[in-house]
């Protein structure tokens, strides 16, 4: 590790680079459009290389996943069989309840999830960084997908579209700290705002609300929300009541398991009008 001392350590270089980085972060925070050309060029250049490398790596990746996830897959298979039996019984009751829910939303002129066209998309990649909570799907603006549209699985809300190219879109997951969605607790008729994380943190909940662990949480669809009402989000995993607190601290475990799906649905909501 011997290095010539001729040049010597220069803090100037570091300072300049730190300043440039801060400027870039500031520019990017002003709006995604400013640095979008850079991301587009990177995407165009790197996508073919990435696809080639992935194709070559796939056999090794399968072996790795077989080794590291075998027990998980076995348990998941058993759980899925049990869930399937339970779901058969619930399906009949759910269809009747859905009809009632639709009538309720029509009565209060709320957008309902079933009112929108849906585009099915395949998950093609997870983010390559530990701190980037996004996924990439194989449908883009050519299918009518726009930034801000909700993305769901059969279980519930997964996230929303954060960036779109012609044939691809990037979805910010519920676990991302920048994610936020208006929610409602149907069991107690209370509303709040869920902020991204693992688990989700719900703010602005009335401190007197009788919310319990296990209560369902859904999108509220109120006011200028980008998300229609009635999408499942998850269940309450913890409730913290502080004496004299102005709000109830509620934690929600998302129902959509980020790692166990390959197909998602993009709801073509009216994001431009919102």
């Amino acid at each position: 590790m011997a290095v010539s001392r001729r040049a010597g350590p220069s803090r100037t270089t570091l300072l300049v680079l730190v300043l440039v980085s801060v400027v870039l972060i500031t520019i990017d925070s002003k709006g995604p459009d400013v640095l979008e050309p850079v991301r587009s060029v990177a995407s165009e250049v790197l996508s073919p290389l990435r696809n080639g490398a992935e194709a070559a790596w796939r056999p090794v990746n399968r072996v790795w996943n077989g080794i590291t996830h075998y027990d998980d897959v076995k348990k998941e298979n058993e759980q899925l069989r049990a869930d399937l039996e339970a779901a058969k019984g619930k399906a009949f009751a759910a269809s009747a309840a859905e009809g009632e829910l639709r009538e309720f939303h029509e009565l209060f002129e709320l957008d309902y999830v079933g009112d929108y066209e849906q585009v099915a998309a395949k998950v093609v990649a997870f983010a390559p960084s530990n701190f980037d909570q996004t996924i990439e799907i194989d449908r883009g603006s050519d299918k009518g997908i726009k930034v801000g549209m909700p993305v769901v699985t059969g279980a519930g809300l997964l996230g929303s579209v954060v960036r779109v190219t012609d044939h691809r879109a990037f979805v910010r997951l519920l676990s991302d700290p920048e994610f936020a969605v208006g929610v409602t607790f149907p069991d107690v008729n209370e509303d709040g705002v869920a902020n991204g994380g693992q688990p989700l943190q719900v703010d602005f909940v009335d401190p007197g609300a009788d919310i319990k662990v296990g209560d369902e949480v859904r999108t509220s669809g109120q006011e200028a929300s980008r998300f229609p009402a009635g999408i499942n989000i998850g269940t309450v995993s913890a409730v913290h009541r502080e004496p004299g607190g102005l709000q109830l601290d509620v934690e929600v475990e998302p129902i959509a398991d980020v790692e166990s799906f390959t197909i998602v649905l993009v709801l073509l909501t009216r994001v431009d009008e919102g």
């Binding site: 590790m1 001392r5 040049a7 991301r39 990435r50 490398a53 790596w57 530990n130 700290p177």
Partner: protein
């Protein structure tokens, strides 16, 4: 073109960074342990500093970070900021070593990788107002540090080639 790459350290750096980001996207990010994945872009920054000193370490970290940021949906410049700091520190550590020891690159890479992840997490919390600590940060630190420590030797060799720095003779103890 090949001759240009072989002669210019900055073109060689560009080539290394592109290979690294493709490897990160296509290979490394799929090999997850406890939901955490390695970070070879951070490895580039650290080994550039170890191979060529603080200035080049910072520049390599900045370039690697910018390229990585261009494929992520996190704020552009976040990785560049964290990696240029880590690359600079790696270079300063190298300058302060009196004699090279064979295990030192692995140990320094382990420590600086852990430090780099924590720096990234802190900057991310400040900028994004989010709870990064809940993201199994310890798992991420350990996975990134261990993988980078294992890959330190070949990466160091690549970065020495990139900047045209000869390898020192190791001191066995």
């Amino acid at each position: 073109m090949i001759q240009q790459i072989s002669e210019s350290p900055w073109l060689r750096l560009a080539l290394i960074v592109i290979v690294a980001v493709v490897a990160q996207m296509a290979l490394v990010s799929d090999l997850r342990i406890s939901d955490a994945t390695g970070d070879v872009m951070l490895l580039i920054a650290i080994t550039a500093g170890l191979a060529a000193g603080p200035d080049r370490g910072a520049i390599a970290g900045f370039v690697a970070g910018c390229v990585f940021d261009s494929v992520l949906q996190t704020p552009f410049g976040l990785s560049a900021l964290a990696y240029c700091i880590v690359g600079h520190i790696a270079g300063r550590i190298t300058l302060n070593l009196l004699r090279p020891i064979w295990w030192m690159p692995h140990a320094v890479t382990f420590g600086l990788s852990a430090f780099g992840v924590v720096v990234y997490a802190i900057v991310s919390v400040v900028l994004r107002d989010g709870d990064v600590w809940g993201w199994q940060l310890l798992d991420v630190v350990l996975v990134v540090a261990c993988l980078n420590a294992v890959l330190a030797r070949p990466a160091l060799r690549m970065l020495r080639w990139t900047f045209g720095v000869p390898a020192p003779r190791p001191v066995l103890r």
